[in-house]
């Protein structure tokens, strides 16, 4: 399956290579570099590149390309998914997955890669198992190891490898038994200029941090499970129970994990928590443009909209912007033409606005793009879909755990300011109107 792996940094250096079968010369990466040159943006490098004798499958994470070399038919998603799992594992071990972190821990990285694949086929990818085999480096452990000469490598087969619950190791003990769940929802929306929603959908995840002794068996039930249109589970969740009763029943992994990700479809009415009013105009012949943008809360169920950040890619012709925010601060990068406005919290009484003028390149023709506006925000203690956890029960162990559930809503890909609805036929009429206005 996976023959070799090369890690390539942003400047095109191969800084790590690992081979699971016979050695593949690193010159195979030349094909990758070629493709990279052809692609205008880093993310436009095709994930699958055929070369005369091999196929290169790559993912880009944290500005590092993970390039897997394969030789024969294999589902591409298999490799891609695995590479992402590798990155997740690195992140889990080193906190960050940067070039520096990988170079610093090159031995651990190598040991990990050795355990994760055997002959190119995944062997152990469950983080619990890996952590028993190879202990994550911490400063304390490194010190102890240098003094006592003990190692980072486990000598016994991790219990998870053989059990029916490979994600949980046996003999877990805590003095404080706690189980916390975060329900985090992201809204993806496209809103047109007039404020009506083109598409909106909610992606939610339930991230858990479970520190419980022994082998607890948890069930989590919702007040309104029908809301969930589409779900994907951590392998620990019992499918059949969900199918039959809409209850999440599982033996949790130890520590942090993503229990569930779900989707609330665009068919359901999605409440949009903020609205944007904006008016950006350029005039033919004039070197000035007007910029006017107002934000306001909408359907937030009384919760405050926080950490609002507005960003917009202004047209290339804009030289500078001279704006006046009613709150927060704004920056405009004249090189990338990126306008960002850090609004902070929205006060429903006094709506934040950003007004002013933009100066254009003299003599340049009127920019025709309608800049899109991306908005980020957070709302604490609310899941915008209305999803509510009903109860969490524990079986199989005697003690009483601390339980907690937190809700949060975030903006995902939230775009506003696309042009109004029109069909191709309207173009003519609109062009006419504009001409009339100008005249």
């Amino acid at each position: 399956m996976i023959h070799s792996l090369f890690l390539i940094n942003a400047s095109g250096d191969i800084f790590l290579e690992k081979h699971w079968k016979s050695v593949v010369s690193r010159s195979v990466c030349d094909y990758f570099f070629e493709a990279q040159e052809r692609a205008t943006e880093p993310e436009n490098v095709p994930p699958v590149i055929p070369t005369p004798h091999h196929y290169l499958i790559s993912v880009l994470r944290h500005h590092i390309y993970f390039v897997a070399v394969i030789q024969s038919e294999v589902p591409p998603l298999f490799v891609i998914e695995f590479l992402h799992r590798v990155v997740d594992t690195f992140q889990d071990y080193f906190g960050v997955c940067t070039e520096a972190a990988i170079k610093d821990n090159v031995v651990v990285v190598y040991e990990l890669l050795e355990e994760m694949l055997d002959n190119g086929f995944p062997l152990a990818t469950e983080s619990n198992i890996l952590k028993e085999l190879i202990k994550p480096p911490t400063i304390l452990r490194t010190m102890v190891n240098t003094i006592t000469g003990s190692t980072n490598v486990g000598e016994q087969l991790p219990t998870g490898q053989l059990s029916v619950v490979p994600w949980r190791r046996t003999g877990v003990k805590y003095t404080n038994n706690e189980a916390y769940f975060d329900v985090v929802e992201e809204i993806d929306a496209i809103i047109d200029k007039s404020g009506s929603t083109i598409t909106a959908e909610i992606q939610g995840v339930i991230d858990a941090c479970v520190k419980l002794t022994g082998m607890p068996d948890l069930t989590l039930s919702f007040m309104n499970p029908r809301l969930l249109d589409d779900v994907s589970f951590h392998p620990c969740v019992r499918f059949k129970r969900w199918e039959a009763e809409r209850i999440l029943s599982f033996i949790p992994p130890d520590g942090n994990f993503r229990l569930l990700s779900y989707h609330v479809s665009s068919q359901n009415l999605v409440a949009i928590p903020v609205y944007v009013k904006h008016n950006i105009t350029f005039r033919e012949g004039s070197s000035q443009g007007r910029f006017d943008l107002t934000l306001g809360p909408k359907q937030t169920m009384g919760k405050a909209v926080e950490s609002v950040l507005v960003s917009s890619q202004l047209p290339r012709g804009v030289l500078n912007a001279n704006l006046n925010p009613s709150q927060g601060t704004y920056t405009f990068d004249p090189v990338t033409k990126l306008l960002t406005w850090d609004v902070g919290k929205i006060n429903p009484q006094k709506l934040p606005s950003l007004k002013g003028t933009m100066s254009l390149q003299a003599g340049a023709s009127k920019p025709d793009e309608n800049p899109t506006i991306n908005i980020q925000f957070k709302i604490q203690q609310m899941a915008i879909s209305g999803l509510k956890v009903n109860r969490l029960d524990m079986y199989g162990e005697k003690y009483k755990p601390f339980k907690g559930i937190k809700y949060m809503t975030k903006a995902g890909k939230f775009q506003a300011g696309l042009p109004d609805k029109w069909t191709l036929e309207y173009i003519k009429t609109e062009l006419l109107h504009k001409e009339i206005r100008i005249n």
Binding site: K21, V23, S27, P50, L60, P76, E81, Y110, L162
Partner: protein, 1113 residues
């Protein structure tokens, strides 16, 4: 390596500009230093006694390897540490070895013995990692060692080691493909493994080594389906992909029938479809009509195994692993009935939220699917809307999907979307959008004019690329109805002054030339302008100018004659020979000269023929002949190792091959069925290596058909009826079995199209009636195909799963019950054989070697019993009267082929081994099948677990060709089932062989009285006692048979007993002399209880398993 290191140096040089060398990087602490002199101190560190120094050195070396630096000169220093106690050092040495062993083969051999020792380690992790490294060392010399290690590990107690063995199979295969046959045997054995841990890996090995041996899957199919959900994610992907292929060869196309209903749907399509679509539909309709006609004759019923697969994979759509979801999606796309395919859309749309690489792959697949099954994704149209933040390649793919999904109801929304995309700053994307608009316009005639107008508007766009792309698309659209759009052509003619993009200019010129009759005034003028700029144009434009000139010359020679001459003259001296050639050709063709040939008469026809409108179709059309989700599909080219997805078979192969129990030959009544069986024959002969069952099957079915013909051949219905009545009388039987029956009946329905339709229908009706009456359950299982019932039927499924094993046991009893005694005796015994060979592959079976030859022994066994049964000898017959030699099972030690003519079999003679009482006597039989004599047969290089001992047999000095010799050797197995490995040497060759004892041979009989037995048993209670309930095999319900079977399984002696309900046996283990007491207490109707008391618990548990098996079959 030298090439790559050269490359490294180069790279290093270039990187020093932008990037600091690692050596100077303070963070890496000099680890990456490339100074070769430092290798000396690394060597020193490796030679030191301190583990910490060694570790430090190894870490540096591994860092060098990671960096791609050559560290091969350290090989001797590193390989010395392979046996280091420190596990981290050891692991790093392994890493090093695997990397460089191929380059330094001789030195690498030094390490082999360490791994061989590791293979025997009590710690399973060490065993597994020893096997991993051993199999990763790509040195051809050690192939036999690897083979042996793999075979051994395949029957290891630890599933983890077995998994590693499965991983090692493809490694060995890639090293030496000639081992294929042996490896297939191991694969076959591992496929029968019941643990989820092994399943994924062994299927992977199967796919790499012998994907064509689909017959190996039959017996494991249901098990794999049922295990699937518990297999780890990566294994799931591989298994699902393999099962997709399997299902395509074994089941019928579930959509045969639905083509009838579909008719309405396809009518729909023609409504908005374009011309070429219609053509296709015509064809399709014809095909469908045919298929439908076929379907009418032959109602489709889904094979329950097919349903099982679909049902068990469905929950995996909820997996967090995108690869699993994709695998299930492709399985549904390729295998599911049309009505059910829809479920995958949601899951695939969910994947679009993942990383962009995942999106890329998923969108490719969705694009292919959306061509065939547009309806599936229509509800999710908005999910494919493009965001400005998407990478271009994602945008283009989404555009592709949107275009595929467009129909006359949603086209306005889609066009509105496209409208916004055109304003994007990403020019490649804009170009793709314009093409997409063009495709929508060709496919949906209602919006053709709207699109055309829109595109014409784009001609005044400031961006030249946009204009150029529009021109190209407009050109294609205009070709459909040129007469309506002469003003557009005029408009485009004007554009020639401004547009510089060659492709666009060429397109415009072609258009004007093609439709010069619609714009008679403008065309000559355009030619005039072009003639002026001819020399400065690009080649494609020049060609089109010549083209235009030629066409104008033919239609309007008065005005353009001179211009054409001029253009042709210019072209004559062009630098490009294509253009020169073209000019010469055209001159000859159109300008009439006295010499001009016959062709010039047809010039007009040649140039001004009506050209068919171009077909704007998706690049993803017809990609679905590749298995979706595969690399080949993504690249639209066959990748190495890609397995074609076969077409559905015309008629389903025999489903009974998947039955894990013995196929019930007696049931097959129709001639067709018999034929199929015959086709299947090679499978049995292949895998079992015996022709017994097939022969008997043939004779059986012969007799069956005979009986049927006597009852009247025209009534096939009556046959099935009688069967039904039989079934009804056996109503107390397990449900599972009834379902099985039902399957067969359904199959029979399928097989009867040849019969008169009338009688067919009636019999079917009867069957229906019968089904409804006889069990309410049936209706449920019939409606299984309904999606709504899914959960219900699922629960019933799981129920039946639980009872499966039980049912199996019962089923095995059945044939014996229903058969008249005298004739089938032989047949039964043969069946027996088969069962045994299947179950031999059981998890805990000590599994001596795959080539166990149970044939003789079992045949003789059952013959013995049968004969005894006939002679009505009384049951007090002591076990001693059964001659041990007749019940001895012989095992193969060395096969004739591997032994180059020398074959060796061994058996446990159960005689005391005189030189040493603590040894088990192993009797070996040497046969020299070669044409030459074999000399000096002896044993060498004995490798044993600690504590084990071997007493070799005296050297056989000469074994003439064709002769047979026997010898006895003694092995002290230390009361364990560990194998004894040694080399069997002749004067020319050495063979690695191993002897592994079944647990029953590790003991010798002792004689106890009833009281002694009870006393000893009383002392071995609690942990030392293992009790198991069982149901005795039908043939094994008399005391005598029980005694006989137990003593066959284990070397024990009978203890006299007052009660006839109990049989007692006693023995001592050979080495330690621990007592082994066995009690079999029989109850009513074959129920029994087996108790084993033994101080050695491991022996006890294994013995229980063996005896259990002996008694229940």
């Amino acid at each position: 390596m030298s090439a790559s290191s050269a490359f490294n140096d180069e790279k290093g040089g270039s990187s020093s500009v932008g990037e600091p060398e690692y050596g100077h990087d303070p963070a890496s602490g000099g680890i990456f230093s490339s100074d070769y002199k430092r290798h000396d101190d690394l060597k020193e560190m490796l030679d030191s006694n301190k583990d910490s120094l060694k570790l430090e050195a190894m870490k540096r070396i591994v860092a060098m390897i990671a960096r791609g630096k050559n560290a091969s000169d350290l090989f001797p220093a590193v390989v010395k540490n392979v046996a280091c106690k420190n596990i981290e050092v050891k692991k790093l040495v392994y890493v090093y070895l695997v990397r460089y062993a191929e380059e330094q083969q001789d030195l690498a051999l030094l390490s082999i013995s360490t791994f061989q020792r590791g293979l025997k380690d009590p710690n399973q992790l060490i065993r597994a990692s020893a096997l991993r490294v051993l199999s990763s060392i790509r040195v051809t010399i050690i192939v036999p060692i690897m083979m042996l290690a793999i075979k051994e590990a395949a029957s290891d107690m630890s599933p983890y080691v077995r998994k590693t063995a499965a991983h090692a199979i493809p490694k060995l295969y890639s090293l030496d493909p000639e081992q294929k046959d042996q490896l297939i045997e191991v694969i076959e054995k591992l496929l029968a493994d019941k643990t989820t841990l092994v399943a994924g890996s062994v299927v992977m090995a199967f796919e790499e080594v012998c994907p064509e041996r689909i017959d190996l899957i039959h017996k494991n199919y249901r098990k794999l389906c049922n295990l699937l959900i518990d297999v780890e994610e990566w294994g799931q992907v591989v298994i699902i992909n393999m099962l997709t292929r399997y299902a395509r060869t074994q089941f019928l196309n579930p959509n045969i029938n639905e083509s009838l209903l579909e008719e309405g749907g396809s009518g729909d399509k023609t409504f908005y479809g374009s011309d070429e679509d219609e053509d296709e539909d015509e064809e399709e309709k014809e095909k469908k009509a045919e298929v439908a006609a076929m379907a009418k004759r032959k109602p489709y019923v889904m094979d329950p195994d097919h349903r099982l697969l679909l049902r068990n994979t469905k929950p995996l759509l909820q997996s967090r692993n995108a690869a699993v979801v994709m695998a299930v999606a492709q399985l549904y796309f390729h295998l599911a009935p049309k009505a059910e395919v829809g479920v995958i859309a949601k899951a695939l749309v969910r994947l679009l939220r993942s990383h962009s690489e995942v999106q890329y792959v998923v969108l490719q697949n969705v694009a292919t699917m959306s061509i065939k099954r547009r309806g599936m994704f229509e509800p999710y149209l908005k999910s494919f809307y493009i965001r400005s933040t998407d990478p271009t390649q994602i945008k283009v793919l989404k555009l592709e999907v949107l275009t595929n999904l467009a129909n006359e109801t949603n086209i306005s929304t889609i066009l509105r979307e496209f409208q916004t995309y055109i304003k994007s700053m990403d020019k490649d994307f804009v170009a793709a959008t314009i093409q997409a608009i063009g495709r929508c316009a060709t496919n949906i005639s209602e919006v053709r004019d709207t699109c055309l107008n829109g595109l014409v508007q784009l001609l005044s766009n400031r961006d030249e690329l946009v204009v150029a792309e529009s021109v190209v698309v407009i050109k294609k659209l205009l070709q459909m109805q040129p007469e309506k759009h002469s003003d557009i052509i005029k408009h485009m003619a004007k554009l020639t002054d401004n547009i510089q993009v060659p492709m666009a200019r060429a397109s415009i010129l072609w258009l004007i030339g093609e439709y010069c009759e619609h714009v008679p005034k403008i065309a000559p003028d355009v030619l005039r302008k072009m003639a002026k700029s001819f020399t400065n144009e690009e080649d494609i434009v020049k060609l089109q100018i010549i083209n235009l000139a030629a066409k104008l010359y033919l239609t309007n020679s008065k005005q353009t004659k001179l211009l054409t001459q001029y253009v042709l003259n210019l072209a004559k001296y062009d630098q490009n020979y294509d253009i020169r050639d073209r000019a010469r050709f055209i001159r000859q063709l159109i300008v009439p000269t006295e010499k001009s040939g016959a062709l010039s008469k047809y010039a007009k026809k040649l140039f001004l023929a009506l050209k068919p409108a171009p077909v704007l179709e998706s690049p993803f059309k017809d990609r679905d002949h590749f298995q979706l989700g595969s690399l080949s599909h993504l690249l639209n080219a066959k990748a190495g190792g890609y397995q074609e997805l076969p077409d559905w078979p015309e008629a389903a192969p025999d489903p009974s091959v998947r039955n894990v129990e013995v196929p019930e030959w007696t049931k097959c009544s129709s001639r067709e069925k018999r034929k199929e069986k015959k086709v299947e024959k090679p499978f049995y002969t292949d895998s079992e290596g015996e022709s017994g069952p097939t022969e008997s099957a043939d004779s059986e079915s012969d007799s069956a058909t005979g009986s049927e013909s006597s009852s009247g051949s025209e009534e096939s219905g009556s046959g099935s009826e009688s069967e039904e009545s039989k079934e009804a009388s056996e109503s107390e039987e397990e449900e599972e079995e009834e379902e099985e029956e039902e399957k067969k009946k359904k199959k029979k329905d399928l097989k009867k199209p040849v019969q008169e339709s009338e009688s067919e229908q009636s019999s079917e009706e009867e069957e229906r009636k019968h089904q409804r009456k006889s069990k309410p359950r049936k209706s449920e299982s019939e409606s299984e195909s309904d999606e709504d019932e899914e959960s219900e039927s699922e629960s019933s499924q799981s129920e039946s799963e639980d009872s499966e094993s039980e049912a199996e046991v019962k089923k095995k009893k059945k044939p014996a019950e229903s058969k008249p005694p005298p004739k089938p005796v032989k047949k039964e015994s043969k069946k027996e054989k088969k069962e045994m060979s299947l179950l031999d592959l059981d998890d805990f079976e000590p599994a001596p070697s795959p080539q166990v030859t149970p044939v003789n022994t079992f045949l003789s066994n059952s013959l013995v019993t049968d004969l005894e049964g006939l002679s009505l000898s009384d049951s007090v017959l002591s076990p001693a009267t059964i001659a041990p030699s007749s019940t001895l099972k012989s095992y193969e030690l060395l096969h004739r082929i591997t032994g180059e003519g020398l074959s060796v079999e061994y058996c446990f003679s159960r005689q005391p081994f005189s030189p040493d009482a603590n040894m088990v006597a192993v009797q070996m039989q040497f046969t020299n099948n070669a044409s030459s004599d074999t000399k000096n047969l002896h044993i060498e290089d004995v490798k044993l677990q600690s504590g084990m001992r071997v007493k070799e047999f005296p050297e056989i000095e000469l074994l003439p060709a064709g002769e047979t010799a026997t010898a006895v050797m003694g092995i002290d197995f230390c009361d364990s089932t560990q194998a004894a490995n040694f080399q069997l040497c002749t004067h020319t060759r050495k063979f690695f062989v191993s002897i592994q004892p079944p647990v029953g041979e590790l003991m010798r009989p002792v004689f106890l009285t009833e009281n002694e037995f009870k006393k000893e048993q009383g002392q071995l209670m609690g942990m030392n006692e293992i009790t198991e309930k069982l149901t005795l095999d039908v043939k094994c319900r008399n005391e005598h048979t029980i005694v006989q079977r137990v003593t066959t399984a284990a070397n024990l002696s009978r203890v006299p007993c007052g009660s006839d309900k109990e049989c007692r046996f006693a023995g001592r283990t050979v080495t330690s002399g621990s007592l082994v007491l066995v009690t079999v207490a029989t109850k009513e109707e074959g129920a029994a209880q087996l108790t084993v008391n033994c101080e050695k618990m491991v022996i006890g548990t294994m013995l229980v398993k063996d005896i259990l098996q002996a008694l229940t079959q």
